[in-house]
Amino acid sequence: MRERRTIVDAWWYIILLIWSVTILFPMIWVFYESLKTNQEFFQSVWNLPREMQWSNYKDAWKEYGIGSAMVNTVYYVGASLVIGTFLTAINAYVLTRLEFRGRKLMWGVIMLSLFLPGINALIPQYILMRDLHLTNSLTGIVILDSFSESAFYLMMLSGFMQSLPKELEESGAIDGASIFQIFFKIIMPLSTAGIVTVAIFKCLGLYNNFLGPFIYLGSPEKYTIGVAMYQASQIMQYKADWVTLFAGLMITMIPLVLMYIFLQRRIMEGATLGAVKG
């Protein structure tokens, strides 16, 4: 049913445009400021750079350690993502499609975590990590983040695996496949869509994780991108090299923008999926 367009409609349309501008303009602003010289930067907010200072990006990459932070981030995100997603997948399979004693109990105990706000566990967790000699180590936070299971992702993937037909295992077993083969050759390939969704969310969450790396990583050469950017912004009070910091912020956002451009539909669908269930 179509209605006539009126003047009021135009006003509403302007609201949409205004909100779009509040999202887009700060980004664009950071981008063109990041290409100025520090002198131009303080002259006027609105002027575009006279000459593109791409060297700001090089400086940010080298001087503020964004480059090494990016390498650390790739290691941290990559390792936690692979280990964590695999553990979630195999666990979801066992807990949804195999019968064994203690299964319900295990599921219940994991679901308990949905009630835990986590904020009170920060300190004991830190002491635990310190006692295990896992602080100030990228591998330490990889272990922490890939082994501390998330009930949320487990639910997401369990729901997906439950929808696969029950006959899959039976026919696999008749053909003489072991349970290992059934999981790796039948279940995993058929669950790819679900696993990829979980992996995307884990990837975003890990890349954006600030508090964990901030608490656990002490030495600058181990910083992940979020911590490196925070620390760089802290020293700006004494060292007004803002254009380089702006360039650093752009570098931080680029992977996220790229991920969003390529995976936006999956990301938006997954976000609401989680909301409906959780």
Binding site: I15, V94, F100, A121, I123, P124, S146, W242, F246, L249
Partner: protein, 316 residues
């Protein structure tokens, strides 16, 4: 299985008991291998610290010297601690401002896209959701640049419309700083709730609106008399989730102001965090006691939410 003489002789023979046993053993092994790392890690890194936090809250401990058991002393101190109450008050202020703003803006945006069929609908949708994928660090730094006194976008924008307030540092002024932390939170959260509301709105049958249009109902009437009442359950959940998130969230404030200037933006999570991990003297016991208080409040709130969510399916 080739070592079984049976299977060589009769390819179609039923699996022998030997084979069954082997499969059973394999299944057990598989279950152990699958559950022990993840479940063990969960017990060790999640459950155990949560239990331990109860014990820690009863200690006087700086993390280095031997802990001293002090019983309920930390909780008594907490009641006397003005900083705790100041931080909680800031939390309340943020909860009652951020939550309605996010809900209001997301509903308006969702309604416009769901019911007006403008051009570029999908472009708007993708764009509006975008801040949600940005990290808290990116969002907070971006806004701290916007707020900066000398080069900030906000002051420049105000000057453009004729309001010159000089080099006003929004995050550096006691009066303004707490309020200045609100827009970044709203900006970062709207995208998510907008998509949730948009999806909920798309499930409302078109026929309901058509009847209203025939009666000559305006958009405002339709929004307030049809859309919002039908979405009450999901809005209620959104409100509760937002309030919880604002209550326990502190990373954005840590990055924007770290509680300053002189504590005017301190929130309870940040206060706890700085006692435990800040630059001063650490007091794990006292911080854990604050953590326990947050735990009790948040779990109670979560139970309330669950009560709401179980009967949220509305009928049309």
């Amino acid at each position: 299985m080739n070592e079984l003489p049976n299977s060589v002789a009769h390819a179609t023979a039923p699996p022998s008991s030997n084979w069954k046993q082997k499969a059973k053993f394999q299944k057990r092994l598989f279950i152990l291998l699958a559950t022990i790392p993840a479940f063990g890690g969960y017990i060790l890194f999640t459950l155990y610290p949560n239990l331990l936090s109860v014990y820690y809250s009863l200690l006087n401990w700086d993390g280095i010297k031997d802990p001293v058991y002090v019983g309920m002393q930390n909780f008594k101190d907490m009641l006397q601690d003005d900083y705790v109450w100041r931080a909680l008050w800031h939390n309340v202020l943020l909860m009652v401002t951020v939550t309605p703003l996010v809900v209001f803006i997301s509903i308006i945006l969702a309604y416009l896209l769901a019911n007006k069929g403008y051009r570029f609908n999908s472009v708007f949708k993708v764009l509006f959701f975008f801040p949600n994928v940005l990290s808290l660090v990116a969002v907070s730094l971006l806004w701290s640049f916007v707020y900066d006194g000398s080069f900030g976008l906000l002051n420049a924008g105000l000057r453009l419309i004729g309001v010159d307030i000089g080099n006003y540092y929004w995050l550096g002024e006691k009066k303004a700083a707490l309020w200045a932390t609100i827009p970044p939170s709203v900006w970062g959260a709207v995208g998510f709730y907008f998509v949730i509301f948009l999806n909920a709105m798309s499930t409302i049958p078109k026929s309901l609106y058509e009847a209203a249009i025939l009666e000559g109902a305006s958009h405002r009437v339709r929004l307030f008399k049809i859309t919002i009442p039908l979405m009450t359950p999901i809005i209620r959940v959104a409100v509760l989730f937002l309030m919880l998130g604002v209550f326990k969230g502190f990373e954005n404030i840590l990055i924007l102001t770290n509680g300053g200037p002189s504590g005017s933006t301190d929130v309870i999570g940040l206060y706890m965090f700085n006692i435990a991990f800040g630059t001063g003297i650490h007091n794990y016991g006292y911080a854990s006691a604050i953590g326990m208080m947050l735990f009790v409040i948040l779990v109670a709130a979560k139970l309330v939410i669950d009560k709401f969510t179980t009967n949220r399916d509305s009928e049309y």
